[in-house]
Amino acid sequence: MAITSVKTGSSFTNLTKYDSFLAGNAGYSPSSFESIATYTASGGETSFTFSSIPQTYSSLQVRCMLRRNTTGAANMGFRPNNDTSTNYTRHSLIGDGASASAAGSASGTYSYTQNLVIVPGTTSGAYSGQIWDILDYASTTKYKTFKVFSGYDANGSGEVGLNSNVWLSTSAITSLVVYFAGDAVDANSTFALYGIKG
C-alpha cells in the first residue's frame, strides 16, 4: 500500500515533505569519462593485454607512465585484437631538444610511438608520459585512428612528440595488447584505460 499521508501526532516529527524522491539532493549524472582498467607492471613484461573491452563508449584513452628496463629500441605500441599482420601505418613528429624530425612507415606489425620511452641509465625516478586516444574504436565500418602525445625529459636529454597511427581493420577493438617490441617494461610503470562516451 502506498503511503499517501503522514499525520501530526505520530512518532515521526519535524518531517519535510518533498515532491521528489531526490529529497532536495542533486541528481546523479553518470560520467562521460570512465575508468575501465589499470595495469601496473611488476617489471620484465614484454607485453600485457587489456581484454574484454566494453563496446559502449565512443572512444578510448590510455594514459601511461612508463620506463623500459632494457636498452633496446625505445618503442611501445598496441596491437588491437592481437593482430600481428602488417596492418599498421604511422607518422610521427618528434623534438629531441636540438632538432625536430618527422618519420613515417607503412605495413607495420603494431601501432607504436617512435622512441619516446625512457630507458635504463637515464635519470632514475623519471618516467615517460603517454596519452593514446583511439577514436571510434567500436566501429565495424571504419579503420581505427590512434593519436598519441608522448615524451620524457631527463634533465639533459629527452624527447617529445606526436604520433598518428592507423590500424587498417574495420573490426571493433575488443582487446588491446600493449607491446614493447621484444624488450620489457620496468616495474611500477602504469597503464590506465578509460572509456569516453559521446
Partner: protein
C-alpha cells in the same frame, strides 16, 4: 569519493593578475590536468609553473614547436636545471581578443617518483601563430599539493580561465 574525471578548482580572473595558484590539492586522483584559456595585453610572455612552492633548480623541459611566421619552421629546444617548469609561450603580437590555449597533464602527481608532465600551448593569431608540445620533469618525489602558474613579465588578463581537473584510474 573522487569521480573519474572531475573539476577540482576553477579560477576566472576578475582583474589582471601575474599568478594563479591551486592549493590544498588532495591525493584523491591519479593524474591532474590543467586547462587555461587566456588573452594578454603584452606582445609575448612565457607561462611558467611551480609545484609545492619549489623554486629550486629542480625542473627541466624539452619543447617541440612550430610556427608559420615567414618560412614555416619546426624546432626543438631544451632547458635543464631551471627554477620553473614551462607551460608555453604567449605568441609575439598576441591579440587581446584571440585567446591562447594551454593544457598540462601531470602523471601520477601523488606518487613517489619524479613528476613528468605533457603540455600543449596553442596560439593562432589569424596570420601568425605557434603551436608547442612540451614535456617537463620536476625532480622531486613529493606528492604535488599546490600548483603556481606565473605569467612572466606581464599579467594575465581579466577573463582568463584556469581549471584544474583530477583523473582517477581504476
Amino acid at each position: 569519493m573522487a569521480t573519474t574525471y572531475e573539476a577540482i578548482q576553477t579560477t576566472t580572473l576578475a582583474s589582471a593578475a601575474a599568478t594563479i595558484t591551486f592549493s590544498s590539492i588532495a591525493a584523491s586522483w591519479t593524474d591532474l590536468r590543467l586547462v587555461i584559456t587566456n588573452t594578454s595585453t603584452l606582445a609575448s610572455a612565457n607561462y611558467l609553473i611551480n609545484f609545492n612552492g619549489d623554486t629550486g633548480a629542480n625542473y627541466s623541459y624539452t619543447v617541440l614547436s612550430g610556427d608559420a611566421s615567414g618560412t614555416p619552421t619546426a624546432r626543438s629546444t631544451r632547458a635543464t636545471g631551471t627554477t620553473y617548469g614551462f607551460l608555453g609561450l604567449q605568441y609575439v603580437g598576441s591579440s587581446t581578443t584571440i585567446p591562447s590555449f594551454f593544457t598540462l597533464d601531470i602523471f601520477s602527481y601523488a606518487g613517489s617518483t619524479y613528476k613528468t608532465t605533457l603540455g600543449t600551448a596553442l596560439n593562432d593569431q589569424n596570420g601568425t601563430g605557434e603551436v608547442m608540445n612540451i614535456v617537463n620533469l620536476w625532480r622531486d618525489t613529493a606528492a604535488i599539493t599546490s600548483v603556481l602558474i606565473t605569467c612572466n613579465g606581464t599579467t594575465m588578463k581579466v577573463g582568463t580561465i584556469a581549471t584544474l581537473y583530477g583523473i582517477k584510474a581504476a
